[in-house]
């Protein structure tokens, strides 16, 4: 193992102004990073700087500001290409987030490629965003949904997946990291197996992008989606990566400005990639902010970040394991920085409220993954999820907070 430079977390925390803000009179302990990460100052600066100095609509403008805005927007696209190691910038489509990316693929590619009796494979780990768009497509096209089961430790049953694949499999849509359990799925293997049947693969990377280096060419996936706000960037911006030949064959998802070449009332010819899929004025500031976010993340270094988060995960698993009555859901061998748990006799919402009173932000509920909850026989869990700025002290605060929960409920 190569020695990694340890993160200077104390210094990094200063990059995130919100972390200095007290909540309920206490220092904020932010452990809801799987829902959204906080934003470093450089991201806030990039957005403000764009609006203050370069704001204009992009493309077709002949004036100075429009040229600058276009350059910044297209520069962001190139930067995201590099972040995902895509072959071409035209394979990077800016969308509102992972959800919109999946809907785009389901409606544009899906309506073209999926017919009656064809099969769509998902997993039992999926977020509702990677279930519902495929159900909509299934209902439109008379297709069949098949679901890869989850083992008791939160890993996918790959043997069942292999048996599920067949000549009718058109697409496999799979999460890279489970938002509810933290399981890192073996996407590389899942893609290889799908290839044997000629099926396309979409990877939902919403939970992966902040934690794992992503290389869409090494993965050989057809589509990859991510949300900017989960990777230290702003809300309302995300990326759909698609292989060029897939995207070229697909009809537009929405009609509007920017996605056309010429329009008459008889006929419209569509623009080339990536503009064919970017109808209307895009979220220019969002793309610029996202660029700043991936600049920041790569400057800190994805590998040291992953190592730091893994250490936090191990520490938290140990520490939470000592809390009486606490059960961790999801004990996969490969996990990202998510711990989902239940506390005997206390509903997660009560846990969440009592922790909040101590300035500790966690998520409680079904995490938009009700099938996962049902699989583990619970209605809801409490979820702590970590980012590069979290510390062991914050996990200690969580454990102390849970002691308080128990003290209140054992009265």
């Amino acid at each position: 193992m190569t020695a990694l430079a340890k993160l200077d977390v104390a210094a990094l925390r200063k990059d995130f102004p919100i972390l200095g803000r007290p909540v309920r009179g206490r220092p904020l302990v932010y452990l809801d990073n799987a829902a959204t990460t906080q934003k470093p100052q450089c991201v806030l600066d990039a957005i403000l700087d764009y609006y203050r100095n370069d704001n204009a609509n992009i493309h077709r403008g002949v004036h100075e500001l429009s040229e600058r805005a276009t350059e910044a927007y297209e520069g962001a696209r190139e930067r995201l290409r590099r972040f995902l190691n895509a072959a071409h910038a035209r394979e990077i489509i800016f969308v509102r987030g992972a959800t919109e990316g999946i809907n785009l693929v389901a409606q544009s590619w899906g309506r073209l490629a999926v017919g009656p009796g064809d099969e769509i494979i998902l997993s039992h780990l999926e977020h509702h965003s990677n279930i519902v768009p495929w159900q909509m497509l299934r209902d439109q096209r008379g297709a069949v949904l098949r679901v890869i089961p989850v083992l008791d430790n939160g890993e996918l049953d790959l043997a069942a997946y292999e048996r599920m694949l067949g000549p009718r499999t058109k697409i496999v849509a799979i999460t890279h990291v489970s938002n509810a359990l933290g399981t890192i799925t073996p996407v590389r293997r899942i893609i290889q197996l799908a290839r044997d049947w000629g099926a396309a693969v979409l990877v939902d990377g919403a939970q992966a992008a902040a934690h794992l280096p992503i290389d869409v060419r090494a993965l050989d996936c057809d589509f990859y989606v991510l949300s900017g706000h989960k990777v230290y960037g702003p809300t309302g911006i995300g990326v759909l990566y698609g292989k060029q030949e897939r995207l070229e064959a697909m009809p537009p998802y929405q009609g509007g400005g920017d996605m056309i070449e010429s329009v008459s009332f008889e006929r419209t010819t569509f623009n080339t990639l990536p503009y064919k899929f970017e109808a209307g004025t895009p979220h220019i500031a969002g793309a610029i902010g996202l660029r700043a976010a991936v600049d920041y993340l790569e400057q800190v270094g994805l590998e040291p970040v992953a190592a730091h988060e893994h250490e936090l995960l191990d520490y938290a698993t140990q520490a939470l394991g000592q809390v009486p009555g606490l059960r961790i859901l999801g004990t996969a061998r490969e996990k990202a920085a998510v711990i989902s748990f239940t506390l005997n006799g206390v509903h997660p919402h009560d846990v969440g409220t009592i922790l909040d009173q101590q300035g500790i932000a966690v998520r409680t509920g079904h995490h938009c993954a009700q099938p996962v909850m049902e699989r583990f026989g619970v209605a809801a869990t409490t979820r702590a999820s970590f980012a590069l700025y979290n510390t062991r002290e914050e996990i200690d605060a969580l454990v102390a907070g849970l002691d308080k929960v128990r003290r209140i409920f054992e009265r």
């Binding site: 006799g345 509903h347 009592i354 209605a379 209140i408 009265r411």
Partner: protein
């Protein structure tokens, strides 16, 4: 503040809910669901000549929603439908508007603390919205959304 929310009576009723279970000869029934958190409440009423003779509930939820349902059933047994509707209005006022509504609410006044926790108001009111559906004889599931 947290101890004002999780008062002893609330914890007691959440751990040992009263009037819990099905009521086989109910003549009014309604289901409540909070899609945000997955809390469920099914309410069974036996109403005769405008009076609630028997009331029970089933469901799953947090301490606030369970204790609210439990205390509600205690408060409503033997009450007329008009009295129940009146109590419903005053309870909703208590958890969303003002302190003065606490008068004459008896044990239910412990839910005044919920006002300070806007995210939890729906937990406290789930059973009561379900009651409204049951009293009005609506068949469809009631949702807090």
């Amino acid at each position: 503040m947290i101890n004002e929310l999780y008062q002893e009576i609330i914890l007691d009723h959440s751990k040992r809910p009263r009037n819990y279970g099905r009521l086989e000869d109910a003549n009014r029934q309604a289901e409540g669901y909070n899609p945000l958190c997955g809390d469920r409440c099914t309410l069974f009423l036996k109403e005769r000549d405008g009076r609630i003779d028997e009331i029970r509930f089933e469901g799953s939820g947090c301490a606030i929603s369970t204790s609210s349902a439990s205390l509600m059933t205690e408060a409503l047994k033997g009450k007329t439908v008009t009295e129940a509707e009146n109590l419903l209005t005053r309870f909703l006022d208590l958890v969303t508007k003002d302190q003065t509504a606490a008068e004459n609410l008896g044990k239910l006044a412990v839910f005044a603390g919920v006002r300070e926790f806007p995210a939890r108001v729906k937990c406290a009111t789930l059973a009561w919205h379900t009651l409204r559906a049951a009293l009005r004889g609506r068949k469809e599931a009631m949702s807090t959304e």
